[in-house]
């Protein structure tokens, strides 16, 4: 189990290669990577603010809940803060489990909670000015699946 909150970029492929490898009790590995999206071509950069200390605590609590709920062999969460360009990775979650359903569900659980319960705030800077990304009702609703 590892949690990293960092400003530096990372390579999801390299992270996946080193994750839960050589373990014979693992049958399924799921990874999710979040990328800075710029559908309209008007985004210059994204800046992510976070709450140092609370971020690490909140993510560690999510990982602990996931580990108690699903049979997981390993779990990795990386989340960046600071400035990043379109196409760059924002964050990554990886889960390893004996069975595929546990690996998928735990990864989705962690993603849903990271979206709405980890203290990160995204601000977009583009050709039309800047603005804070607003939270979506559907992200809040997604949490009800896990109650």
């Amino acid at each position: 189990m590892a949690v990293r909150v960092q400003a530096e970029g990372f390579d999801p492929g390299a992270e996946l290669s080193g994750f839960a490898c050589g373990r014979t009790d693992v049958g399924a590995v799921v990874s999710f990577t979040g990328v800075v999206r710029d559908t309209d071509g008007g985004l210059d950069r994204m800046e992510i603010e976070h709450y140092p200390g609370m971020t690490e605590r909140a993510i560690a609590a999510m990982v602990e809940t996931a580990t108690a709920r699903w049979d997981l062999a390993d779990c990795l969460v990386i989340h960046r803060h600071g400035a990043m360009m379109p196409g760059e990775q924002i964050m990554m979650v990886a889960t390893a489990a004996p069975h595929r359903v546990a690996a998928f569900e735990a990864a989705e659980f962690l993603m849903d909670y990271l979206k709405s319960r980890a203290p990160f705030w995204k601000k977009e800077f583009g050709t039309d000015g800047s603005g804070w990304v607003e939270s979506k009702d559907e992200d809040e609703d997604a949490l009800s699946r896990w109650e």
């Binding site: 200390g53 605590r57 909140a58 990160f120 995204k122």
Partner: protein, 82 residues
């Protein structure tokens, strides 16, 4: 004496990321009332509580939570991680 922190647009409206606040407020709601009365920028930042979240000592909490024993209060909009 409370450490009060602000993030995202709450920080921008207040104009600073953190400050020390001398208060006798018993709850988060009382603290917000005190801050609101201070200056226009606070009134603006705290104008719509439905758009705000609060953490006490780095744990998400509620506006009616007591401040007894709390050292760090943080106000911010709904989170947008992931």
């Amino acid at each position: 004496m409370l450490d009060v922190m602000y993030f995202a647009w709450v920080r921008e409206r207040i104009g600073e990321p953190r400050e020390q606040v001398e208060t006798n407020a018993a709850t988060v709601a009382e603290l917000i009332e005190e801050l609101r009365r201070r200056e226009e920028r606070y009134a603006l930042a705290f104008s719509d509580l439905s758009a705000l979240r609060v953490a006490l000592d780095q744990e998400l909490s509620d506006f009616d939570a007591p401040l007894d024993g709390v050292r760090e209060v943080a106000f911010f909009p709904p989170m947008t991680g992931g």
